[in-house]
Assembly symmetry: C2
Homo-oligomer: 235 residues x 2
DNA sequence: TAGTGGTCTAGACCACGGT
DNA sequence: CCGTGGTCTAGACCACTAG
């Protein structure tokens, strides 16, 4: 049920419940999802709230709606873009994979007169006892906003979880630029790319909080094993 | 003003009006946008409708909202992804550029027993009398859904405009996969890429109508002159 | 304290799809 | 015809920001 006294908005609570039910596999590809009216009654709320929750699922690519027919479940949801910008660890956990992270480099650097904590990590999954790295992430985090952030062990801890829990900073937006890149041997070795004549996908950008303040500069190089899919609406 | 008798929803009408006002440059970077209450009064509608219209602007990256403060305009809006999936021609026109299109190849092909109209185009802009090609698009359009589509001159006509106006088919979603690619000399020549050791960005995917039916298979190769930016919300 | 955006309610009418 | 999602109204209370 929904908790009207919670600080979490009702439509977010409902969204999470519905998302979890899909994740648990309660619906098959193309199955009818409960109608808006049914959800209204079941959760004792109004249609506006139900629609807001469903619209979040639509944006995630988990369901789609057809007027006059109903709401349907996307079996194979689009792996909604931004691999790793909105929760690498969570995404993998939802697929019953174990996320691993290795710190390749960690230091304090000065950029344009400001101090940043530079963190380079290889990130991937552990499957059948062996590790497959999928991305190499380089992050620059401003020290003045995150004092002593270099004390954490980011091979164990999630950067965003530390930001949220220890510094009360919530990543909200990512602005990134995609480009193809030809990488050097070090990178190829980490990502286990054997083919010499291969280009990799790179994303450079910045992460902002809810007030549009920059909280991280990032650069991610993706392994060719990763599929970079996205879905968009044409207006 | 808004036309209550139009088939176009009020919030879409309002969205278009507001978008156009931003495009005309009525607001500078970071300017306060009219408040929801002000828009409500000005356009004689309710807050729900105003919020729906503004939420479209937010998704376009044209404005952002801050609780307690107001709505602000993004001067340099994120060039919202999907270059060419949601209106290459319109995008360029909004920047006072002239779109050009050259047909490189055009034929009927059979894929998995079905007939498709294959169309390969170079697309770009004309500036100061010279043409700069920015993408090479390959489209496969199913003939059974678009009979005689091969009769149109796509160096002059927009594919989506023909689909909409002549066949009443409205592209609604695009599902694409991005990958880096190393291209051959023909492509490099068309896109005027001189550097040999360069990788280009490619997008492969399909375009669907509002009923999630596939209406086009596409593959686009982007010139390095194009910036591929996108913005996403972290949840 | 006044104004802003964020959420929520309780209705209404509509276009559409299937029976 | 009924049930679906799509749109719209007219309120309400809240958290947050700034003067």
């Amino acid at each position: 049920m929904l908790d009207k006294n919670s600080v979490v908005p009702l439509y977010i609570q409902l969204y999470r419940i519905l998302k979890e039910s899909i994740r648990r596999g309660e619906y098959k590809e193309g199955d009818r999802f409960p109608s808006e009216t049914a959800l209204m009654k079941q959760y004792q709320t109004t249609r506006g709230t139900v629609r807001k929750a469903i619209s979040e699922l639509v944006m995630d690519g988990l369901v789609y709606q057809v007027q006059g027919k109903g709401t349907y479940v996307h079996v194979r949801p689009i792996q909604y873009s931004m691999w790793n910008f909105s929760g690498f660890t969570d995404y993998l956990r939802s697929r019953n994979e174990v996320a691993v992270s290795k710190v390749l480099e960690q230091e304090i650097v000065i950029l344009k007169g400001l101090s940043y904590f530079k963190l380079v990590r290889a990130r991937g999954v552990k499957r059948d006892g062996s590790v497959h790295y999928l991305t190499i992430d380089t992050s620059f985090v401003p020290i003045d906003r995150f004092p002593q952030i270099d004390q954490y062990d980011f091979s164990q801890e999630s950067l965003y979880r530390i930001m949220r829990e220890k510094y009360r900073v919530h990543p909200k937006y990512a602005e990134i630029q995609l480009s193809p890149t030809i990488v050097d041997d070090d990178v190829r070795q980490v990502l286990q790319v054997t083919d010499e004549a291969v280009a990799l996908l790179k994303a450079d950008g910045r992460v902002l909080n809810e007030k549009n303040e920059e909280i991280e500069k990032v650069s991610v190089i993706y392994s060719p094993k990763m599929e970079f899919k996205l879905m968009t609406t044409i207006t």
